[in-house]
């Protein structure tokens, strides 16, 4: 049976197929380091939107494993340092509206989560998920570095995008998602949550007649609806006190539905396992990518 979420993803793939990826790379001499090169990467997503990513490539011949760090909910996705950078290609893609992908549309934070939400055709977040898929496609076809396995990582919205990416692209080898955003799940519409999910309640409070539209137009993005399609192993971290991104009960349900999921539950809030989990994730990724 074809579900609404299946239909959404079918339409999303069709929208992506309308435009060639058209990857362009420009070496950034300022930020390049002695042991890795940094590139400014641009490519085309659905609706012809030009997106930006930071790409780093280790010195040497490769092929290299690769890590895509999906963007979290905010305007900046920077060149975050990871010690794996010297052994893996690292891509930090942005979605439409974030800095450097904002020539046509500039997102607001808070604000993005409800921008255009009254209509599925105008709801920007549906295209944000398309942009995440496009990042995987762009990395896969770039010619600068020869690649081996690709892992996806991300926190908050980035965690949800990483899970979606793994569900849609079977080439993904591993996923490390921290506190994936519950956008689309009915729990995200409850009042009393913190930002960013509180944006939904703000909107419903001001426009109560739109409550059903909000529920319907976000529902296809619920990570629970694609969780069973993820074939890669997933390291999932959540915090028991999280009331703004990934409520505990949502995270536990998600773990139940992902076929190969290693769930780690911490005492934290939206920061999940914080530093402790960051070390675990680093080792886990290095192991999965064969660079331990």
């Amino acid at each position: 049976m074809t579900t609404s979420a299946d239909q959404f993803w079918y339409q999303t793939e069709e929208a992506l197929a309308e435009f060639p990826v058209n990857v362009r790379l420009y070496r950034d001499d300022f930020y390049s380091q002695p042991t890795w090169d940094v590139y400014q990467m641009r490519y085309t997503s659905a609706d012809g939107a030009t997106l930006f990513a930071w790409l780093s490539v280790p010195e040497g011949r490769g092929p290299f494993p690769a890590i895509i760090r999906m963007p979290d909910y905010g305007s900046v996705h920077d060149i975050v340092y990871t010690p794996l950078r010297e052994r893996a290609v690292v891509m930090n893609p942005t979605f439409r509206g974030q800095r450097q992908s904002d020539r046509v549309y500039q997102a607001e934070f808070p604000g993005l989560l409800t921008d255009g939400i009254a209509n599925p055709d105008t709801y920007v977040m549906r295209r944000v998920f398309a942009d995440a898929i496009r990042a995987i496609d762009a990395l896969s076809i770039q010619a600068q570095a020869q690649l081996r396995e690709i892992a996806l990582i991300g926190s908050g919205l980035g965690g949800a995008l990483a899970l979606a990416g793994a569900a849609r692209r079977r080439s993904i080898h591993a996923v490390a998602a921290n506190t994936p955003m519950a956008l689309g799940n009915p729990l995200s519409l409850e009042s009393g949550l913190g930002y960013p999910l509180a944006e939904l309640d703000d909107y419903i409070r001001l426009y109560p007649e739109q409550r059903d539209a909000v529920a319907q137009n976000t529902a296809d993005l619920d990570p629970l609806k694609i969780a069973d399609k993820i074939t890669a192993p997933v390291l999932l971290s959540i915090g028991i006190n999280d009331k703004s991104v990934c409520p505990l009960i949502f995270g536990e349900r998600l773990a139940d539905q992902i076929p190969n999921c290693d769930l780690r539950v911490y005492q934290g809030a939206a920061e999940g396992g914080g530093h402790e989990h960051a070390q675990i994730q680093l080792s886990w990724l290095a192991d999965k990518l064969g660079i331990g």
Partner: protein, 312 residues
Amino acid sequence: MATQQDLEDFVTQVTCPDDFDDFWGGTLEQLAQISLLPVVTANPLRSNEDVHVFNVTYLSLGGLEISAWYCVPTKGNGPFPAVINFPGYKSEPPVRRDWAKQGVAVLSVAVRGKLMSSAEFNPGYPGLLTAGLESKETYGYRGVISDCVRGVDFLHSRPEIDPERIFACGSSQGGGLTLITSALRPEIKAGVAGYPFLCCYQDAMSMFRSYPYDELACYARAYPDEEERMLDVLRYFDAVNFAPRIKCPMVVGIALDDEVCPPETSYAAYRALTSHKELWLFPNSGHGNAHDYPAQERAWLEGQIGLETVTS
């Protein structure tokens, strides 16, 4: 992980310029010549039964319009105590309804370069840390710090705010700006600086390879002939040099596994404080992610403000 002994053994290379006070005195004089021209606009989307949320703008150095979120309790007539919240390097300022619900007004400043204040100054991220490094007069942080000072002026000008109960907090860059602004504005009665950035630039840029400090290392590598001048400029913006000028109680929170703001550099700022001070050390925690920090920050500020601690 750094140990407390590592922190105590660390000696910064940063020195204070002889004309430090003159430079900042001149900047504050320049600011005083610019009308604040505050505009306060209700935001019904973010307001609820407990909190009025407003979009605020005011003018700052160079006549730039700076934006902020302003949360004011709906219950009670005031005057309310206020907290000014300074933003991190890359994050947008938060809408702090949580405190406002407890009776505390909160101003979250979008310093220049943040989305809401980027029309005339937008160096990007990365980029802010090296913008205008040619001289102390042109360095971007001269404007950023001025924007924070003007935020205090805004609160001080408001009839609904108790001018004797203005407090400050922030983490990372917000922590550094808490220290710096508290030194420049005695109207701030106490502050909490978490994981403070903007401390001991000269040391920090060579201790780790993580951003934002690595922007400075990239700058020095790209322009080796300019490094000495860059380091001299940065001395005027180093929280270590502001710390002895702070008169109010101050907390510095440090994560001992911080790989963004080296713990030793944050500790150097703490050590330089001469006012009443507290040190919070978080072992096994990294930058911005100590589980206990938010609750401690809140409880300490509520104590300073005179509220009963409310667990959120």
